[in-house]
Symmetry: C2
Subunit: 857 residues, 2 copies
């Protein structure tokens, strides 16, 4: 073979031939799995794997593939390392030429050889020539029609020879290289062509988010023949159910077929069952494949004259639930250790356990697409206002709330709706954050939808109109908005899921808390076994009906005295809410953040609403307008919020501190649990802010102690949300007990990028690779992460026992959780619905980090 | 003296007695200056200074104060170190008692002793008892009235003795300690009481921003007697004119007086002139005092029987102009080196040289107070709109533009107005920044003014109403808004000022550039000898009439093609502006920043204006509204601005890059100066942004080179405005030539604090000491400063020759400039009107830093 040059040192590895096995990183996973399977005793036809690059001399290797008394038939397949493993061209049936034909005739008879010849041409045309398989299938279909036959197995030798001539003509017509006359040249041609075809598909890989430049190895393997005489055929099987994870072998096969025909061919495949003649062999091969892969397995097999051969095997791609069950079962069966089971499950897959999801087989009629802001799917009647959502909920009818964007006034509607879709906003817009907190499926920034609130119409990009009452579906798992109702799969929190969670809790180092503001949040947090509350945003307690009025009265107060009168109305409300919260958490830690948002967020928007407010409060519209104008800000995110409010209006934080202490005293007395509230000061940028407000809190504590004759222990901490606070964390840490990193705001300020405004260009930025990832979704380790590390180092240098954690959206993101583990944080806190994800991700982080340290040591 | 305990090691220092001199840090400046003057041969009565703390035994010291043939008379004065030196109680005339009285009678006669006795009582009552001097003055006035005499010198011995009895009664009535019978007890009482009175005035010092807890030393000195027989009296003098700085001795004195009577007494003092009998001695003392202080001097003196004595001396407190002239003259006279002259002038004083200021003696009728946002003062007719300001300017009438706050639409009005006042906004609000750039006096955040634009009325806090056309005055030097026209002092850029600037340019290391966008800016920058433009904000070129239309067309474009059509109209405009700029700068470096503000800033506000725009552009109002709504942002500061615009709409930055290159080619060809533009990419937060846009700029450069057959050299740099960019400066630096720190935005983002919204609580924060200083005014060294240092270190590690500078508002702030010197920055850039301040501050920074290094070495 003159084309093959002898290159020293190229590592060709044998499959089923002894010696070093193929390496997934070098020869691709397909080759590695085959090599391992053969070594484990599975019936794998022998072969060898050629690493990416120039093709070495392979004569010696070929010599080892001979099977006694049978002409040599070869397949060549691409085998790519890593993620780019789906598309892999192949050329089958190499070996048939005029010289070897007599030997094949002896084996297969004239019709068998004719069939092999036309298959050889098709495989060459597709694998080397890049011709679509349909071209050959149409020709086959024409031949069947002309012969008046239903099935290719009915074609006789002459008809098959005519078909082969047609196939050769197709190859010529498409300007593809003709099939070489000598089998050695067929092999050389395939070895040369397959890498070229692989690299030609770079764009397709890139479009799927895979590595376009991935190299490719080649597998040369002796073929076994599914079109041989006797019990012969080809099929696929899997050792467990891919949807449920249940351990049960299933498969399909087609007699007298080869390659992918059992999946893609014109004939209907049969199920593998007791009748098929090779079920026991397949069962045995399946068990051996699982042992070789240490995972549930998918198999491609061929039966040649009654003998089962495994041509390919890989880990089964199961559903989210299947993945969990399989991992837990494998550990229970002793195939893998528990740590490995924990690592097998991508935490994000747990969403499917926590929310209803759309059945993967259900048809989808998409009318718009946005960002998958809050997982799960929901169908319901379209509503255009918070009020309509509430009215619908009151009648027991599920609704989908559609808004341009949401504001705090929509929160009650979001509670009532079963799903939410907004036309504007990014992953951390108001709608997205609130929906995740509520566990409500939500799609935001669906900018191809036109929402005409005046006309009461939602227009799809394709012109279809949906009015209030029409049913639509939102898929918060992928960002789709769909017409009509769609089949759902309901969540499942017991069984394998519960077992996996138990193991995760045993394995993880960091605490996992929930961000929870309402009784509903707390219920979910407890249901998902959060160890405490890491962020209770007290302001959310004021948005409810009956409370917002007192809040607005407080905001519109002209003097400190008026403000205190209004605050006196809010005190019992806040105290009751907190008492219920402390009681529900039964002595687990609760971190309460003092009022954070700018006061104007509590006022209604628009002149009409403000005028109504003035009437309701019996004050002049001028006063209300003036106060609203006085509170308006150019950049509310960078305005008078957080501790700036507490310093400007100390009576507000005094009321809140009092509510916390009184509630803790009462809840502690009622339940007997020790309640030790943790009070968090938001948006600090200078040490002095923390000092002033810590002194205020201590003073209120002393007052409550004097009044009640008893007092709880408490801790005061600071939320690190500004870059300056991160840099000055050493200073700040001295006087307080904990630092909680508000990574949302820290990200906004580090990038100079508002989460609410980022949506309009974040997709472009990601598409253009300007940002590797959305920093509001996964922590920006290089920038924001460095601020966290600086802060942690400086805080601990001043106060070694200070508690450190994060409570931003990143607290539920696995990559960010790994960062927190590496930084040695004490806890993470996330939305209640992400607590299970965080528990698993924290466990994985502990395991990965321990392995890394072992590796380094 | 039993009250005085002997404490070993207490450092009493002598004045005019040889031995170690008093130390300003220990004994106070007053004592130190006196000691130095005595040592230099000035006629200073001998004495000694007691450091703060317990009073030591002083008998030995007292013994050294005896004057032969004359009874001992003593004064005790407080002498405070440092800044807290104004209020300093004293007790005079200690020494007269029943035992020493005969000796005094021998010297002064009965009337003289009676006069001394009543003076002794008054001084004791005020200095020890803390009684207001008026109490005694009223009694004196009553006595004169009763005696029918005009002047205390006319009172006879009996009348003076009666007055002394009245004075003793006042002391008794006020429950003050009575004057002790023995002079030793008088001294002990004064030594004990004065520190108590000093510490009792802590609150008063705090209210003046001085150190409330400052310790106090005491000076005990032999008294010379201005009420002695012969040519006797007391007065004050100064060696140079405090307003102009001119070298000319002047003074006032009062015969037969002592202490501060020449300044505060009931009699009218005389000028010191050739007739007074001690002019030559005073002239000589003045020259000696200047030599001792190495500065212009203020003197307090007493003449006793024809002999001049200097009782106190200190550096003259001169006006801003006087300070400059004195420093330059002293250096020219060889009294101080040039470096010292440069350090003598607080750079902020130069404002008085650069802008008209209100005459310090003019009456001020204040109607409101805000922040001193842009220095200088202006009077003019009140106008309420940019149009009215322009109309007024067209008629040649100075106007003061009053607005709630300003927006880019007001810029033409701000150009036309002679002064600006806004009701809202902080030191870096739009109005403040633009006004400083224009050199227009401006007061912002004058929140006690009520501006009713509908009624056309500006209401003062006291209820007065000012309508359009009424004349008001704004004092941008202190934030006052005044009724009517006020007397001004005009600026003066030659003479001593010019000399000082020359010396500063010789001394400084860093380059000083100006932030300049318009031809006017460039004129001012050149007039003030900026070495280049450090920040040319290209967007300001688009706000002018005739340009904003094309800009809006570009913004409203639906497609990239429409956008390019609009940009084609803007290209020649931008190119012409830049060509003029390059020509005017004659080859000096010019740093051009690509478009930075969010696009919505270029659209008008309000429905009516948008409707008018739609009509003018002949497109539907719906389209305009929809586009405006689409561009609206929650937090514009953190929105789609800076390089995010350049990445989203590359055609905009392409147009700008082309304009820069074409303008540079043309200007270079016309003038023969080498024009090497520096192109600055704004608001970078990730390396990739800089890479993408540098590639775009390089591509346009290649196109221009190809089209024109010639091309200029250019540099590309990045504006570091986000904390993340500062942290990633190493990465970012690799591909570019310079980093310019935009410290305004960096401060906003480090603190999480919008400059536009900070105004409403910054004053409280400063008053409560939450922030030491306004971080938008003086660089926050601890937080933002650390980001600058991290960025500088990382950038230089990657690219040692990278140029570093700042172009935020801090570029004109002396403390921030010192920081830049220490950080080793290459240049600073500031508003044109602050260039002289920056030049001087940079020189001082170089000198101070060199001295610090010498001190360390």
């Amino acid at each position: 073979m003159t084309l093959l040059s002898d290159i020293a040192g190229t590592e060709v590895a044998g499959i089923g031939l002894g010696g070093p096995l193929p390496d997934a990183d070098v020869h691709g996973e397909k080759a590695a799995w085959l090599g391992a399977a053969a070594a484990a005793g599975l019936p794998v036809p022998p072969g060898f794997a050629i690493p990416p690059g120039a093709v070495p001399a392979v004569d010696d290797w070929l010599a080892r593939l001979d099977a006694p008394g049978r002409p040599l038939l070869l397949s060549v397949r691409a085998s790519a390392p890593g993620a780019a493993r789906d598309f892999a061209p192949a050329v089958l049936n190499i070996g048939l030429d005029s010289e070897t034909r007599p030997a094949f005739e002896d084996w297969l008879g004239p019709r068998g050889v004719a069939d092999l010849a036309r298959r050889q041409l098709q495989s060459w045309g597709c694998g080397v020539g890049g011709i679509h398989a349909e071209e050959f299938e149409y020709a086959l279909f024409d031949a069947l029609k002309a012969a008046g036959k239903d099935d290719e197995t009915e074609l006789d030798a002459a008809e098959l020879e005519a078909l082969a001539e047609t196939f050769a003509a197709i190859i010529a017509d498409e300007d593809a290289p003709p099939l070489p006359a000598r089998w050695q040249d067929q092999l050389a041609g395939a070895l040369e062509a397959l890498p070229e075809r692989w690299h030609g598909a770079a764009r397709r890989r890139a479009a799927r988010g895979e590595d376009a430049e991935a190299p490719v190895a080649l597998i040369v393997q002796r073929m076994v023949l599914g079109v041989a005489p006797g019990l012969s055929g080809a099929g696929v099987a899997q050792t467990r159910n891919e949807a449920s994870g249940e351990r049960r072998l299933s498969g399909r096969w087609l007699p007298g077929a080869q390659g992918e025909e059992a999946l893609l061919g014109l004939r209907t495949p049969r199920l593998v069952d007791g009748e098929c003649g090779f079920a026991a062999a397949l069962e045995e091969a399946g068990a051996a494949a699982e042992a070789a892969l240490t995972d549930a397995a998918s198999l491609e097999f061929t039966v040649e004259d009654g003998t089962l051969w495994v041509l390919a095997l890989r880990p089964l791609r199961a559903s989210a639930r299947g993945t969990v069950r399989i991992a837990v079962d494998l550990a229970a069966e002793g195939v893998i250790p528990r740590d490995e089971a924990l690592l097998r499950v991508d935490p994000r897959l747990l969403d499917e356990h926590l929310h209803p999801t759309i059945d993967r087989n259900a048809p989808r009629d998409r009318i718009g697409r946005g960002l998958a802001a809050s997982p799960g799917a929901a169908s319901g009647q379209l509503v255009f206002s918070a009020e309509a959502a509430e009215a619908s909920a009151a009648r027991g009818i599920p609704s989908i709330l559609a808004r341009i964007e949401t504001s705090p006034e929509d929160i009650r509607g979001m509670h009532a709706a079963t799903g939410v879709v907004t036309v504007r906003g990014g992953m951390t817009s108001h709608a997205a954050v609130v929906a995740r907190g509520l566990g409500t499926p939500c799609v935001v920034g669906a900018s191809d939808l036109l929402l005409d609130l005046d006309a009461g119409v939602l227009k799809a990009g394709d012109g279809r109109r949906f009015e209030a009452g029409n049913v639509i579906t939102v898929d918060g798992g992928n960002g789709d908005v769909l017409a009509g109702r769609v089949e759902m799969v309901q969540p499942e929190l017991t069984g394998a899921f519960a077992t996996l969670m138990d193991w995760a809790d045993d394995a993880r180092r960091m605490g996992v808390r929930a961000n929870a503001d309402t009784p509903l949040d707390v219920d979910v947090a407890r249901q998902f076994r959060a160890e405490g509350i890491g962020l209770c945003r007290t302001e959310h307690m004021f948005f409810e009906a009956g409370r917002i009025a007192a809040m607005r009265e407080m905001i519109l107060a002209e003097s400190s005295a008026d403000r205190q009168a209004a605050l006196a109305k809010l005190l019992p409300v806040q105290r009751e809410d907190l008492r219920a919260l402390f009681r529900a958490m039964e002595g687990r830690p609760v971190m309460v953040r003092l009022l954070d948002p700018p006061l104007h967020e509590f006022l209604p928007h628009g002149q009409a609403e403000l005028a109504e407010l003035a009437r309701a409060m019996d004050i002049s519209i001028d006063t209300v307008l003036k106060r609203a104008e006085g509170l308006a800000e150019f950049n509310p995110m960078l305005g008078k919020r957080g501790c700036r409010i507490g310093i400007a209006y100390p009576e507000i934080y005094e009321m809140q501190a009092r509510a916390i202490f009184e509630a803790a005293c009462e809840a502690g007395a009622e339940t007997g649990d020790g309640v030790r509230p943790e009070i968090m000061i938001p948006l600090v940028s200078a040490k002095r802010e923390a000092e002033v407000l810590t002194a205020l809190i201590d003073r209120v504590a002393a007052e409550v102690r004097a009044e009640r004759g008893r007092m709880v222990e408490y801790d005061v901490g600071v939320m690190i949300e500004t870059p300056r606070a991160a840099l000055r964390a050493g200073d700040i840490a001295r006087g307080i007990s904990f630092l909680s990193f508000g990574t949302n705001d820290l990200t906004q300020m580090a990038y100079g990028l508002s989460r609410d405004d980022a949506g309009r260009f974040m997709r472009d930025y990601l598409a253009l690779d300007v940002f590797d990832h959305d920093p509001f979704h996964t922590l920006d380790v290089d920038g924001v992460g460095e601020l966290l590390l600086i802060a942690a180092r400086r805080a601990r240098a001043e106060k070694p026992d200070i508690s450190l954690g994060i409570c931003g959206e990143h607290g539920g993101d696995p990559a960010s959780i790994l960062f927190c583990e590496r930084a040695g944080f004490d806890y993470i806190s996330c939305s209640p619905y992400r607590v299970p994800i965080a528990r698993l991700a924290a466990a994985q982080a502990t395991i990965v980090e321990a392995r890394r340290k072992e590796g380094a040591a």
